[in-house]
């Protein structure tokens, strides 16, 4: 079975008595080791798809299996477990905890994964060195540049050794040079075997992936290899 498997998945929001089909009968398979970009204008449903794939939400209908977990009607606890074990997130706004230093931010997923303290520090430090932040461990996010913050976020996404990395506009808050460096890191990660799902509205960034899925009005309208 594929790493990500969606079968006629719909997501419907109700606003008042109006029904909004954010996703409509989506079928999608993503295999292990792929580098996929999901592209589309704002309001197209790409964020909703990303939230479903990232196990932050469950579909209104259809079948969803992620990393072998049947999540069609999952509880919050099940979703949290998959997020913790199989998925790493990188957000546009970094979403670091400003009160914690770099190393504590990186080890956050390990805490909820129940990893013992000493092992936690060890792994967080190792990942921090991998993303080039070995000298910044005790700084706090407000003291870091945007690029450094996104490295911290990537390190946090990697620390649990997940199978999938989701990146939601990871370069949106960065200047182009720093953005390129971050994208380079995703290339490297993909080369080392991680499955990467990148959400963007920018075709130029999508072009760095191996497979582009274009989404519009809740439907997949086009799929191509750049």
């Amino acid at each position: 079975m594929s790493l990500i498997h969606l079968e006629s998945v719909s997501k419907i929001y109700r606003v008042g008595d109006q029904e909004i089909r954010a996703l409509d009968q989506i079928n999608l398979r993503i295999e292990e080791g792929e580098f996929v970009a999901i592209i589309g204008p704002s309001g197209s449903g790409k964020s909703t798809l990303m939230h479903l794939l990232g196990c932050l939400d469950t579909p209104s209908s259809g079948r969803m299996v992620i990393c072998g977990n049947e999540l069609t009607r999952a509880t919050q606890d099940q979703l949290a477990h998959v997020r913790n074990q199989e998925i790493g997130f990188v957000f546009q706004a970094f979403n670091l905890l400003a009160k914690l230093d770099v190393i504590s931010n990186i080890e956050l997923p390990l805490i909820y994964g129940g990893v013992p303290s000493a092992q936690r520090r060890e792994r967080a430090r190792k990942v921090a060195f991998e993303v080039g932040l070995g000298d910044r461990l005790s700084n706090r996010p407000p003291q870091l540049s945007g690029g450094q913050c996104q490295r911290v976020a990537i390190a946090r996404a990697l620390v649990n050794n997940p199978r999938i990395i989701f990146a939601d506009e990871p370069t949106g808050n960065l200047d182009s040079a720093t953005g390129l460096a971050i994208l380079g890191m995703f290339d490297e990660l993909n080369a080392s075997g991680k499955t990467i799902v990148l959400v963007t509205h920018d075709p130029a960034i999508a072009a760095r992936s191996r497979r582009v899925i274009e989404i519009r009005d809740g439907h997949i309208v086009r799929e191509y290899k750049p």
């Binding site: 932050l56 949290a80 997130f89 805490i111 649990n160």
Partner: protein
Amino acid sequence: MSLLFVFQIGIREIAAHKFRSVLSMLGIVLGVSSLIATMALTRGIEEGTRTFMQQLGGLELVTIAEKNPSSLKMDFANLSSGLTLRDAKVIRESASLISHVSPEILIRSLVSSFGSSGTRERRTIQGIYPDHFVIRIHQIGAGRFLSDLDVQRGSRCVVLGNTVATQLWPDVSIESIIGKTVLIGTSPFEVVGVLDFYQSEEQARVRRSGKTSMRWKWDPFRVKNEAVLIPFTTLFHEFRSGSSSSSDEKPDASKPNASTVPKKSDATPESNKRNDSIDSIKLDALIVRVRDLDYFHPALDQLRKLLDITHRGVDDFDFETREDWFDRVESSVRAARLSGGLISAISLVVGGIGIMNIMLASISERVREIGIRMAVGARPRDIFLQIIIEGMLISLIGAFLGIAASLGLIEILKLISPTENVPVLSWDGVLFSVVFALLAGLLSGIYPGLKAARLDPISALRYE
């Protein structure tokens, strides 16, 4: 997620908002300190009362008091001669459940020392039997108690309370007072014993620390320290049997005095008249001691039956037991504790509401943080636990501050409260208030915790 880590997050969160946290703790601080202080106060009253009771004798004591007979028996109330020495003798001979019987008669008279510069004061003189020393829990400091022989012979000897002795002969050790002569009215008595000095632990503590009592107050030990005790028979023959003017009348005066035996039994033979006159004397107090507390009520029944006979069916007597007294004291202590506890409980509840308020403000400030934690794998219950622990930490710190405050409060109360009721810090009170404070923290964390745990991770992440 390890509990230790949750505690770390909680402490960091509290430390990050010190002023806010202290404000929210305030209710708990007040509640805990007032709860502990109230419990210390009531404990102090309880202990003060208990030492007082112990000095007066325990639960085994029953005071037989006179009362007006019931209206049904008013018509033949004259048949009873009231509470007399005969009652005491009958009880001693026949009431098997009673171990000690102490009849007492009192006079007030001037007491002075013979050939000394000591005080000359009007005091209460008690005529007693040796059982008195057991019932009143006296300890002899020097010399001896009065004996049965003293009572039989009507000898002119006296046992003095410590205060009386030292006032009569200042600057002299109590041992050397033995054998000296005391004048009661104009009659000389030989001092055969001096009692121990009685004081409460608190008084002893004050005395040792060199401070003198700042003001006079009623002292349960004072009565015992000012005792002047002579044999029952001596007091009777010396001061009661004759007319009031002839206080120096000899004890062996054989002429019967009609005035002291107003309701003489017609069945008494003439030859017993002298004894009869003393037997018919009205007692000022009759106290008995029950042999075994397990048979307390049977003993009362036995007493009642005996006295019904000697009083010819007139119910002009009543029993005052310490039980009633204990019950009364206990119920008032309970009432004090309840009202104090209630006030403290209310302030703890208010404190809990304060914490809840702060927790609610805190989570709405941290929605995004909660979203991030959820995104990296925190389960709703992890978030809930974090909020609950934070609330409990705030209340726990508040409780410790409250304990510290209460220690100060108790010291202040010690300065202003009467010495026999000095507040006593009770550790179960401390424990109780900590538990109560934790409970308040726990309850106040539940609603904010649920609210935080039910946040939708997506909207929480988007929250600005």
